[in-house]
Amino acid sequence: MSALEPSDESLLARYRKGDGPAFEILYARHRQGLYRFLLGLSGKSELAEEVYQDTWLSLIRSTSQPQGRANFRTWLYQIARNRLIDHWRKHGIHNPLHDSYDEQTHALVDDAADPEQLLSLSRDNQRLESALQTLPTDQREVFLLRAHGDLDLPQIATLTETPLETVKSRLRYAQQKLRRLLAEEVLT
């Protein structure tokens, strides 16, 4: 986003004051990232669509603004995450994000750090998705927030209410595992 473009927060404020087109700009900026985050985290397109719709509608009908140090992006992803957790709770599905997960036990030696090998990562969308779904949910969440939400690590720590060091290690393990899985796919 260039300096000349209005910020997300100012667009939301304009929409709240009756400027309809401001919402269209805001929506265009975040539609893809939010949808991919929800699809990757839930693993089901129907559920992702439902939560995606609920998230935007609640934002449209709400009169609130991002509070404190939260910017619009973290606020939006927070709403979406809460909606997904609400859905899991309502349908009696165990919330995988609340699992206490020991990253060390799932960490494998990363033998795919070679840049040449990185070039041969699978580009097949199906394989990317299946590799993503093999990650533990909390690692997957951090990776998706970083990749599609474009949130930095402190923002992710705030959003998920997790210590920053834990967020860093989750992201690191997620990336190592993905690299290994995708490289293996190509090599086999």
Partner: protein, 208 residues
Amino acid sequence: MTDARKTPEDQMLEHFREHSTAEPPSHLDAFILAAAQREVPAPKLNLWQRWVQACQKPRWQVAFASLVGVALMLALVQRTPEQVPSYDFAPKASAPIAKKEAAQAQPSVARSLAAPAPAPAPAPAPAAPMADFAAPAQSESISVEMADEAKVSKRVAAPVKTLDEQLLEVVRLQNAGQAREADDLMATLHKRFPKENLAARLKELKKN
């Protein structure tokens, strides 16, 4: 940031960003945008805009307010200016006080310039009995306040005496043995009427 500086972690993130193809369905986009347009909050208008809008959509409140406004304007336009109170009323209005004033010490020169000559001390003012009858139960404090107001109104309302009246006052003071007050009054009259031959007129008045 160039590719050479990218860490393997950054490259993994980029890889996923580039090769993810999932998009929200177009019908969902249309639904959400339509909902946003449908529920866009009404813009907040300032006071003037709200008034104009209210006038464009007349309601009974606006009609009522307009009627009241017109009635107020008519009342203001048709209102006649207040009558200036006549000087004749001033002594009457201050009548309750006249009695007290009459009982007070000898009149000063300044008062004699502005007001009619007070009645002799023992003689009550003509309106005094009526004044007693009019407000017998009023407290002393109220009477004092009224007295002050009456003094002020008396000074304001009393007509200025003519030269002859002032000279007659001088004669009266001289006859009463108040030579100093009479001289003071004469000095004041000399200042006020420098072109008049006051001594000659005084003599003439004494003859009459």
